[in-house]
């Protein structure tokens, strides 16, 4: 019994890992599903052309590219006119029935309130379970930067979510 490596064929990699990658992209895009799909497709198309030059596993490479591209995407977006009604990206969330539970809408909006790099650090650390070293490597920064961004990011999330006891990390 063996598990076939996900990078044997690019198509298989995409077919098998796109769900997990899309979820990372979804958080990096602060809950904007359409933007997440666009971002992931954009990154995967770019990776397709250069996959032969990627050393090691493809997935960490793609995750790093997603994190970096999401930051660039937000920079570009802030400088141009809207290309589609912005409310299409909005999120109506959970709310209501599950009071007391941090819902999807709250969380993704809170992530959206963070600077892209800070958001990427939190997503890679606490969603993708990357170590500080791996996160630093993915984002091209130092371990110290990851540490400080993590601490500040958690603090910002606490503030944005407006609940003193939500985050004690």
């Amino acid at each position: 019994m063996s598990t076939i490596g996900p990078d044997d064929q690019f198509a298989e990699f995409v077919a098998h890992r796109s769900t997990a990658l899309l979820r990372t992209a979804y958080l990096l895009c602060a809950g904007d599903r359409q933007a997440a799909e666009d971002l992931l497709q954009d990154v995967l198309e770019r990776v397709y052309a250069r996959r032969g030059r990627v050393r090691g596993d493809l997935e960490p490479y793609v995750r790093a590219a997603l994190a970096n591209a999401s930051a660039n995407r937000w920079r570009h977006r802030s400088r141009r006119v809207a290309e589609a009604p912005l409310d299409q990206a909005a999120d109506l969330g959970v709310g209501g029935l599950e009071s007391g539970v941090l819902d999807r809408d709250q969380l993704t909006r809170a992530l959206g309130a963070l600077p892209p790099r800070m958001r990427a650090v939190l997503v890679l650390r606490f969603f993708d379970d990357l170590s500080e070293t791996d996160t630093a490597a993915a984002l091209g920064c130092s371990n110290g930067t990851v540490k400080s961004q993590t601490a500040r990011g958690l603090e910002r999330l606490r503030t944005v979510l407006g609940a003193e006891n939500l985050l004690r990390g």
């Binding site: 019994m1 995409v14 098998h16 769900t19 995967l44 198309e45 990776v47 941090l102 969603f127 985050l167």
Partner: protein, 447 residues
């Protein structure tokens, strides 16, 4: 919440997020296009840096040309006279509008910048239905500035777009059940489900509509949809499903297209009973897997079969197993085994509806062409033997259970034959498989 809980919350926030159908082929097509472009000289290229350590990648410049901005047509919902047999009941219209205002104030997403309501609500339709009084109430939302570039290149001045929210008010107490914002594909019409178990549907749209409660799967695994013409209530369309429905399985389409399988014709369906569930307001109902096996491919023996995931949804649809009106292809694990030097068995988990994951086994040739399909039944959570499918032409049975030791026997009191892996193709006359996982007691599965 500590960081562990943050991890959990992040995972919960992404539950149900799956790529759209055709995502993989689109990526491949796009990748090939980009590779071609990279090799060509693109005039007026825009240079974008993607990621630290990445080289500069040229992208083609905008394909649209600057010109006069188009303006949007007014939304007739905001001006059309109230329709329905209660249109003259001013007291009910006021009650419905008030219920809408009360409900919208506390609706999920009410604080979104784009949800600021302007003007006053107006009742688009009010009438008696077989389940009581119902009203559809509409109100304009704050506009936005900017330019939308349509696929045909038209540049639309967004400031001219009248953004709205449409709400469903039901019951003698007049309660806002759900609401739909314009811009979510609602231009095709909106179908609200309401009542116990979402059994009632009311929809807007200019043409006759049909409703289907679910993708019905037969004993052979193949499915179909039963369609019912919705009743014309004078401006809206109504249907009462005879049985409770799972909102995510319901489809409402123009009657003329109900057999075409064109997902893009389907109306936005908003279930009431799962109102609290979706980040996208139920516009993309995505069924969930019922298997906990990781979404990987597992090879029996030394099989190097490439599997078939990139075209799985299309192939299942062509074979009659997958719903052409599915909005997402939710796939799970694959188990591949060699049957000969030129043929492989591929057992795949696919989720065709909210009824849960199903198992399908394909016999494929070395070129990836599907030669035969076999339906393997539901994939049950925590089943001791999640894969047990008879191969066609009595070629054996594919069994698989991750991280388990397997033995089989051909009579219920005969000797056991050990399988040297988590999976195998065992003889067609095998009667029982013993599954042992970790230090747990063996479980005997009778085939």
């Amino acid at each position: 919440m500590d960081t562990t809980e943050l991890s959990r919350a992040l995972r919960e926030a992404t539950e149900g997020i799956e790529p759209r159908i055709g995502f993989t082929p689109e990526v491949l097509r796009g990748g090939r296009r980009r590779r071609f472009r990279r090799r060509a000289t693109v005039a007026g290229a825009l240079v974008v840096v993607v990621g630290a350590g990445w080289s500069l990648t040229p992208l083609p410049g905008p394909t649209t040309t600057a010109g006069a901005l188009a303006t949007a047509a007014p939304d007739p919902m905001l001006t059309a006279p109230t329709a329905g047999d209660l249109a003259g009941d001013q007291e009910y219209l006021r009650t419905a509008a008030n219920a809408f205002t009360r409900g919208m104030a506390v609706a999920p997403g009410a604080a979104d910048p784009g949800m600021r309501l302007v003007g006053a609500p107006r009742v688009y339709w009010a009438g008696n239905t077989p389940v009581g009084r119902v009203a559809l109430v509409v109100q304009q939302r704050i506009g936005e500035s900017g330019i939308a570039i349509k696929p045909d290149g038209t540049r639309l001045d967004l400031a001219t777009v009248q953004r709205t929210v449409l709400g469903l008010v039901t019951g003698d107490q007049a309660t806002l059940v759900n609401s739909a914002r314009s811009g979510y594909g609602s231009d095709r019409g909106v179908a609200f489900l309401f009542g116990p178990n979402d059994q009632y549907a009311i929809a807007t749209g200019p043409v006759p509509l049909s409703a289907s409660p679910r993708w019905e799967i037969g004993a052979d695994g193949k499915g179909s949809r039963n369609w019912t013409d919705m009743a014309d209530l004078g401006g809206v369309w109504f249907n009462a499903f005879p049985q409770p429905v799972e909102g995510g399985d319901v489809r409402v389409v123009p009657t003329a297209y109900r057999t075409s399988g064109e997902t893009q014709r389907a109306l936005l369906v908003l279930p009431a009973s799962t109102y609290a569930e979706g980040f996208d307001h139920q516009s993309k109902p995505i069924p969930r897997r019922t298997s906990s096996l990781p979404q990987k491919r597992y090879a029996v023996g030394s099989s190097a079969s490439p599997g078939m995931s990139s075209k799985l949804a299309e192939q299942l649809e062509q074979a009659g197993y997958a719903d052409p009106y599915a909005v997402a292809a939710v796939t799970g694990f694959e188990v591949v085994a060699d049957l000969s030097s030129t043929e492989h068995a591929v057992a795949v988990e696919y989720v065709p509806s909210f009824a849960g994951s199903k198992l399908y086994l394909a016999v494929v040739d070395s070129g990836g062409t599907v030669l035969r399909w076999v339906y393997g039944g539901p994939v049950l959570p925590d089943a001791p033997l999640p894969v047990s499918v008879l191969l066609p032409d009595e070629r054996g049975r594919l069994v698989f259970s991750l991280d388990a030791r397997l033995r089989f026997r051909s009579t219920v009191d005969g000797p056991w034959t050990a399988v040297d892996s988590f999976g195998a193709v065992i003889p067609v006359d095998a009667k029982q498989v013993e599954v042992t996982r970790g230090g747990a007691e063996p479980v005997v599965v009778t085939l």
